[in-house]
């Protein structure tokens, strides 16, 4: 199982990755910029994401919406921003590759002349709507914000969410946005992947043709930040919800660092799916929780691990917390069973195979090549990534749990229905997030 590719770097520093797959007459074009909300500063949050919106509003030589010409050619397209990177992609019929590359290169090399104050202000409103829709008006929508707020100190770039603070978004100035583009949106800070029904030589030729004359920029300095937690922080958030929910957050190993794959495996065996330990005890047997889930949020500067459980009606978060701690203690003591490790390996194997099914879009082969290239400087990391999971053992998982899932270094957030502060874990302090 592998994801073969050819890599070539243009003189201006742009990495070009090509993967051939001729099953369907489509080509995926995927561009990563190594910039995310971690490149922002306190009081100036939400830039990277708002910027992503502006990339769809037009560039110098196509000074109107980005969607119409591409959709007219049958493209599917989108973009996204997280803490560490911003990605943009089109999936086009083979006959429209030139168009997609023309458009992507125009907004990489020639965006600012088209960036008007009016476009900027409209998208600022759209983002404020997005924030209200996805965070403020959604049950439990502010919980992750409250956890990262407590896990990371105010000057750490993971302290804030990628969407940014509402006041920061309102205060944003066009000039700052222009400076942001000059710093981060150029070939030396980008990676281009082409995957699908296209020959490697032709793909490299087209990449040179459309991106070769964009001036090289200066690769930005890496962001450095550290965060530790020396105690358990108990927090309480009242929200418009029917049922209390417990969020437990821990610091965990950075993306691809030792223990990162183990923490990912732990999330599954602890809390994901009906076979997981906590589903069994909390949901299936004791029926004190309605649902339980966990995830290792792998990030460049350091990750966080999160465990979430919703109380059944009339059930207490204290009982749930106690049962979770008992399950953690058992894993810390004995590690996963042989059966659990076999299951995890089979699942990893299958999921890596499923990842090879699509050329484009979020998580498709072009997106994976760029992820490995940007985060590892190694687009060929697919097989070694899988090996991380194959090589994990019960003991390595146990050690990771012991090292990271400490009872005395975590954030425990109780989200409770309004007016029911008493149903939070004892000793929780009210937090204000908005």
């Amino acid at each position: 199982m592998d994801l073969p590719f050819t890599k070539h770097s243009l003189a201006n520093g742009l990495d070009v990755l090509v993967h051939e797959d001729h099953h369907v007459p489509i080509v995926a074009v995927n561009v990563w910029y190594h910039v995310g909300s971690k490149n922002e500063r306190p009081g100036r949050t939400g830039f990277a994401h708002l910027f992503e919106h502006l990339m769809f509003e037009g560039s110098e030589h196509h000074n109107s919406g980005y969607f119409p010409p591409l959709q007219q050619a049958g493209a599917l397209l989108n973009g996204s921003t997280n803490a560490d990177r911003t990605n943009y992609w089109e999936v086009v019929p083979t006959s429209a590759v030139d168009l997609a590359l023309w458009m992507e290169s125009d907004r990489m090399g020639h965006l600012l002349p088209a960036l008007t104050r009016e476009r900027f202000e409209t998208q600022r409103d759209v983002v404020l709507n997005e924030r209200r829709q996805n965070y403020e008006n959604r049950p439990y929508g502010l919980a992750v914000m409250a956890v990262t707020d407590a896990l990371f100190p105010p000057d750490h770039p993971y302290h804030w969410l990628t969407i940014g603070a509402a006041d920061d978004i309102r205060a944003m100035q066009l000039e700052e946005v222009q400076a942001f583009f000059r710093t981060y949106y150029h070939p030396a800070n980008a990676s281009l992947a082409l995957a699908g029904d296209i020959g490697t030589d032709a793909a490299l030729r087209l990449a040179e043709k459309y991106f070769g004359d964009i001036p090289a920029g200066t690769r930005p300095q890496p962001v450095v930040a550290q965060a530790t937690l020396g105690r358990e922080i108990r927090l309480l958030l009242e929200d418009r919800v029917e049922l209390p929910r417990l969020y437990l957050g821990w610091h965990s190993p950075a993306m691809f660092a030792d223990g990162d794959a183990e923490m990912d495996l732990l999330s599954d065996l602890l809390a994901n799916g009906k076979t997981s330990r906590l589903y069994r005890t909390l949901v299936y047997e004791r029926r004190i929780a309605l649902d339980v889930s966990a995830f290792q949020n792998s990030r460049e500067l350091g990750s966080f691990f999160m465990l979430v459980a919703t109380a059944g009606p009339g059930q207490s978060l204290s009982d749930i917390s106690g049962a979770i701690d008992a399950a953690l203690a058992e894993i810390l003591d004995k590690g996963p069973t042989a059966t659990e490790m076999e299951r995890a390996e089979a699942q990893a194997e299958a999921h890596f195979m499923y990842r090879l099914q699509t050329v484009g879009g979020f998580g498709g082969k072009s997106d994976q090549l760029n992820a490995y290239n940007v985060f590892r400087r190694d687009p060929g990391f697919f097989a070694r990534d899988l090996a991380r999971y194959r090589n994990a053992t019960s003991e390595s998982v146990r050690q990771a749990a012991e090292r990271w899932l400490r009872f005395d270094a975590r954030v425990a957030l109780s989200v409770v229905p309004r007016g029911q502060a008493a149903s939070a874990l004892p000793g929780s302090a009210a937090v204000a997030v908005s």
Binding site: V24, G65, P93, H110, N137, R343, Q357
Partner: protein
């Protein structure tokens, strides 16, 4: 080599597209199976589609089809619910159940080398479920709790209230999860009876797709489903939902589900239209694409890009075998609620003639629907599910290859004709889930009459 940036590059002709051959087989027990080869990655997908969905729920048992589907993987033979999940997990299978108005669809995807184990598990789950009382009590409680949680979710509250407003007592007028009182009324015997009636070879379709030959895929199906025998008893359903005529006599134009302090208003605007079988289907797809079916559509450009009222607005037909709803949905800033409704209603009316689609809109709408069409068939799962759709809507095997030319044949006159025929501004129902106090005054300016005030449970 420099780039000519004075104009966009030309786009070549669309690459040829051919849907893979669909082979039909009859297993030893008479069960009809369709197979489709897909050789990119060693993966196999099985889609089992049962002809009964939430539209088959009895009037006093809303939620029966969904809870039945949910109960099936709670144990089979000597296997407990946990054992079944363990079996799926050990082959890295993706297992998914979708309860829709006209069908219940089970999809299982696994690696080719585990295909036999996956198929056998799927057959055990569907044909030989344990349906134990203790599991039923737990599953029902979880669904009741889930229902309670949905009251916090504006889109779910809107979906539920909107179906009810449009369909009233019609079998399509509820969400698959049903209601609190109906769930409490359902017994395990109801589930056993529903299973016996709906889950039978004569009312189910199996599609197997993946990286094997037709013959190997057929044998895979035979080994797993060859001993599924038609149970005794009558398999006939109550009148299928698709054949029931709705009796919609309502003067309600505006309804509100109050949600005090909400930062945004969740909007739905629409009415019932026609069925998936309508010959106007391609014209309606183009109409929807111009109006609000994609990013560069009138409604989204107006509400999001021009006015900044919302993160996104879209329209769509929620197709069914029987009469189907057309609707607009958006979550808008509370202060912009009435303006957003006003602009939406204007656009819905204008496309019927005062502002017919211009040539650019027509080109874009059709291209969006047709030019990227092959990407819908990239994975074994997409292909197998597509074949199941053909069965659900009685479409010919040639459908996917005929789709593009049919859409391309639609002109602006045809869009106006289907808009006149199927969209009626005087019948549009507007629903708002939002802060009633904050918006009540501005809603009056819309002149849609006194709003009907509903609760989140209605």
């Amino acid at each position: 080599m420099t780039v000519d940036r004075s104009r966009l590059p030309d786009v070549g002709p669309d690459p040829a597209f051919k849907f893979p051959t669909i082979a039909r087989h009859r297993l030893g027990n008479g069960f009809q199976v369709r197979t489709v080869e897909h050789h990119s990655v060693p993966v196999v997908t099985l889609v089992l589609q049962v002809n009964d969905g939430s539209g088959a729920d009895p009037a006093d048992r809303h939620g029966l089809a969904a809870i039945t589907a949910d109960m099936l993987d709670e144990g089979t033979g000597t296997l407990s619910a946990i054992d079944v999940s363990e079996g799926l997990a050990r082959i890295g299978a993706e297992f998914d159940v979708d309860v829709a108005p006209d069908a219940t669809v089970f999809t299982l995807t696994t690696l080719t080398r585990f295909a036999d184990r996956g198929a056998a598990l799927l057959a055990d789950i569907l044909v030989r479920p344990s349906l134990r009382e203790e599991d039923f009590t737990r599953v029902r409680q979880m669904r009741l709790d889930r229902l309670r949680q949905l009251r916090d979710l504006p889109p779910a509250v809107a979906e539920r209230a909107f179906l009810r407003l449009l369909y009233r007592e019609h079998p399509y007028g509820h969400l698959p999860i049903g209601s609190d009182s109906a769930l409490r009324a359902i017994s395990l015997d109801d589930i056993r009876a529903f299973h016996a009636r709906a889950y039978r070879t004569s009312r189910a379709t199996l599609v197997v797709g993946g990286a094997l030959s037709h013959e190997e895929l057929r044998r895979l199906a035979e080994r797993a489903f060859g001993d599924w025998h038609e149970p005794s008893g009558d398999g006939a359903s109550p009148a299928a939902a698709s054949t029931v005529e709705p009796s919609i006599v309502t003067s309600t134009r505006l309804a509100v589900v109050p949600r005090e302090g909400a930062a945004q208003s969740e909007l739905r605007i629409g009415h019932l239209t026609t069925s998936r079988a309508t010959p106007d289907y391609p014209g309606l797809l183009v109409l929807n694409s111009v109006l609000g079916g994609q990013f560069v559509s009138r409604i989204n450009l107006k509400l999001r890009e021009e006015k900044g009222y919302t993160y996104g607005a879209r329209t769509g037909f929620d197709w069914r075998r029987g009469i189907s709803p057309f609707g607009l949905q958006a979550s808008v800033h509370t202060a912009a609620t009435a303006d957003a409704i006003h602009d939406s209603l204007s656009e819905l009316a204008a496309i019927r003639g005062s502002r017919p689609p211009d040539p650019n809109e027509m080109t874009l709408a059709k291209a969006t629907l047709t030019r990227g069409y092959p990407r819908n068939f990239e994975t074994a799962q997409q292909v197998a599910r597509a074949v199941a759709q053909l069965v659900l809507y009685d479409l010919p095997d040639t459908y996917f290859e005929e789709f593009v030319p049919k859409v391309n044949a639609i002109d602006a006159g045809e869009v106006t004709r289907v808009a006149m025929r199927h969209l009626d501004p005087s019948r549009l129902v507007t629903l708002v889930v939002g802060d009633h106090h904050a918006i009540a005054d501005s809603l009056k300016s819309l002149q849609l009459g006194e709003p009907l005030v509903l609760s989140a449970d209605q």
